[in-house]
Symmetry: C2
Subunit: 521 residues, 2 copies
């Protein structure tokens, strides 16, 4: 178990006296220059993490002891890693990387080259479909929830600067009827394509919203068959040419939260950005997939970020991570990461089936800067609990248009704030007035790229996928299942029977707790 | 100090063996019925909190010992409560409640009735202005950041079902130039009203974005003077009739994060909902302001929620609170609460100027349900750290349109999921498969109302304002200042000088740390 490793003990010893970044002179120019990596189109600056060269050495020893690199190679080669020994579990490969393994240096194993070919078939179908529809549709509604919603939505918003003219994408996810009504008020259904995304073809929210939109279409005299597309598993109940214009396939070796680069994100992103735009994004993701395979231990960006996260979580005992992109385009990117990280690593058993005795995935949250500075940064600077921060920034803006006000551009103001926060959080500030005292010593890291274009966006997505996966490898937990969502589903279905009985004035099935809550309706 | 109170010690003793909700039979029908309050248009269900009647008694003793009710009366009467003894501090009244004290039972103190009259003058100006503009404008852009953005935006989105036809509101907050460019691409400036919101008239982001939009207007041959409105302090640099069509005033006795019901939210919400719609919202907020004053100790909803939060934070040591509205309309409400709570109570000194030895405000985060269930709920159910949850739900949807699929409506599916999650988190589930074991005992509460109409939305806003304020009263901290945002501002301005020098090819002012970071650009 993680907590019994030799490197765990070494790190634990080092954490008894972690470096204090607020001490005079500790956080200096030399440190900033030395604690930086430049790889795969990104600079990674970690001088403001509470680490010393000894801690970094011990973290790399941890990576070696937990065989992170062997595991990454195995994952991308398609070995069965979604499993837990000795108990019933999914026993699947994890091949989201195959979705974009369409460029240089393809994987050679049978499993992953087969998956890449299957992805290629869907990509070819998608390209043909996009050519076929020409400009018949102006709007696309994606109906999906969880991984079929958060990732595609985050990336669509992030890429809106590159959207084709006369194209708009909307999302319906929540079973709340107000969600569907709100979106339906905004589109002309005649010119709207509807993409329904569910691997099993049985997701309650998604099927309900599909019926909702179909009913509205029928009401205005349109034939849903000419508007609806399915993204689903082959032969699922949704794979039905009599009801859909087209079906695109997804497979159980691509988990929902890792599925943005499959057809789950592919259809809506190609519609918005053009098929070529989507391919740019895949190219960027692939470049990061290649980076984590080919980089040596000390040049691997997602691995280093993962190791620093483990240091903060298990040795400095910081319970939450705020991800703060200094980019309005990434306004929903943190919501995607929240699922990616918390659903992957919010686990309490390891891959041997034993309950863990250490902390796994943290709470991940955040909002873009500079907005956050005018909101929750008060607590980050002066609250009683330390919070670790991951900043994301870009040298240039997406739109080229900028304006000089008082001798600096908006982009310069944005970046000066990003760097200022990193420094302020690390160094703090002494003051005789206790209300103006800043303890500092708040660990943070900066991921910096040139410009949030489509390729960089793909790399950023893949960076975080690999970071999360590496943390799972280090903790030796299964980052690819989600048993924790089942109990709620079972109980919700029991409660629905109560609602139904009430509506039909039948005797309700006995369910005391449900009835007790329903009495308040 | 809070930690030295008699009731603190009593609670600490009680917390050594807190009730285990996952024990057979503990979370039962009787408990659900008994642990419920019905007041001010809301049901508050707290059976799934880890409390016993003894804990509730001890919490009410804490309320009495910390004089929460006297402090609430003093606040609403306009006494100077934004201050810290013995050190330089703001020394102000806190009168956001006066903004809506325009209905029954007005406050009688001089300070608060004066503030209510000032608010009334602005409301009258606003009503006249809204009549005047008739249908000259279809779009409104609000430029503001922090409290001038999050609250108005959250409420606008929450109220979109009640928006007037042909009216749309947009927000520009971030100094990221992509934010302004993105919004400007969506509007016809000829028919656009721009509201610039800054109390001091000097907020960097806001003034920069104002110049950005003014430049764009000038470029297309429009006169900004006929489009721009100021919401600012009287006599601030922005209170200038030569540059603005109108000025609406705000005052230093209404803090940014408490300012939604002032002109900060008033102008954009009246534009979207009609002046009458905005008044409905004020009426709802006022009803909750009256409730906290007139309710007896045991009927006071925000107080009980605050006390339970203190129990979870200081005695069960839970570091974060997830606010999960089962309502898509409240998709940004949690972002507003995040500021409201974390900026108010993310403090480390008490009102006597002493450093605290206990935990103050938690990290507040969340996304709407059912969406969250398909994302981070995995960690909430099976992660290693307990998280406390505040659910918000409504019996009816905003739009009346709903659809029966498989014998139940969407709204019924939504509510069945809300109740199912509350039960699942409390009771957990035993299993021989460790991956299907749910520890349960995750504390949560439910706030339930009939329908998210404008009045209920106003009450909900005020509920949370008072909850946050009560926690500040209990901890005896100042929930109304924000010194923790200053250091970042100072450093950002030093970094900006470096950018400027670089641009003008002058010798940069010496600032080692800033230079070290800038070297990566």
């Amino acid at each position: 178990m993680f907590s019994h490793l030799k490197s765990f003990q070494a790190l634990k010893n080092l954490s008894s006296h972690p470096i204090d970044l607020s001490s005079e002179g500790v956080f200096n120019k030399k440190r900033v220059k030395e604690m930086a990596l430049s790889e795969a189109g990104f600079d990674f600056l970690y001088a403001a993490e509470r680490v010393t060269p000894e801690v970094i050495e011990a973290l790399y020893a941890l990576a070696l002891e937990t065989k992170t690199q062997e595991k990454m190679v195995a994952m991308q080669a398609g070995e069965v890693i979604n499993e837990i020994e000795g108990i019933e579990s999914e026993k699947r490969s994890v091949l989201h990387t195959a979705m974009r393994d369409q460029f240089d240096h393809p994987q050679e194993s049978q499993a992953s080259s087969k998956a890449a070919r299957m992805a290629r078939t869907e990509l070819d179908k998608l390209e043909a479909f996009m050519n076929e529809i020409e400009d018949k549709f102006t709007d696309l509604i994606q109906i999906g929830i969880g991984g079929s919603d958060l990732g595609p939505r985050a990336l669509y918003l992030a890429a809106k600067a590159f959207e084709l003219p006369q194209r708009r994408v909307h999302f319906i996810s929540n079973v709340d009827p107000d969600d569907a009504n709100h979106v339906l008020n905004q589109v002309n259904l005649e010119k709207t394509l509807v993409v329904v995304v569910s691997k099993s073809g049985t997701t309650l929210e998604t099927l309900t919203n599909e019926e909702f939109v179909r009913a509205r279409m029928a009401k205005v005299g349109l034939n849903p068959k000419h508007h609806f597309i399915a993204v689903t598993g082959e032969k699922s109940p949704m794979d039905d040419p009599s009801r859909y214009l087209a079906s695109f396939y997804m497979w159980d070796f691509v988990g929902g939260r890792y599925s943005v680069t499959s057809m789950v994100g592919g259809v809506c992103l190609s519609f918005a950005l053009g098929f070529r735009g989507f391919k740019e994004l895949l190219k960027g993701a692939h470049a990061m997939d290649r980076h984590v395979l080919s980089a040596d231990l000390r040049s691997n960006l997602p691995l280093l970020s993962a190791l620093l996260g483990v240091w903060n979580r298990n040795f400095l005992h910081i319970p939450t991570v705020a991800v703060i992109p200094y980019s309005q385009a990434l306004s929903r990117f943190t919501a995607h990461l929240q699922q990616l990280d918390m659903e992957s690593n919010g686990k309490r058993i390891d891959k041997m089936g034993s309950f863990v005795d250490f902390s796994t995935g943290p709470v991940v949250w955040g909002e873009p800067g500079t907005n956050g500075q005018h909101s929750f940064f008060q607590l980050i600077h002066q609250g009683t609990d330390p919070i670790s921060i991951e900043f994301i920034g870009f040298r240039k803006s997406q739109y080229v248009i900028d304006l000089e006000v008082e001798h600096t551009t908006c982009q310069e103001k944005l970046l000066s704030n990003l760097f200022a926060q990193s420094i302020a959080l690390a160094t703090g500030k002494k003051s005789d007035n206790p209300n103006r005292f800043f303890p500092g010593n708040r660990p943070n890291q900066i991921l910096l790229a040139d410009r949030l274009d489509l390729k960089t966006l793909g790399s950023l997505l893949s960076f975080y996928e690999h970071k999360v996966v590496y943390q799972g490898f280090i903790w030796n937990i299964n980052s690819f299942d989600q048993e924790g969502v089942q109990l709620g589903k079972v109980l919700a279905s029991q409660l629905l029977s109560l609602f139904r009985a009430k509506r039909e004035k039948k005797n309700p099935p006995s369910y005391d707790l449900g009835e007790a809550y329903l009495d308040f309706l």
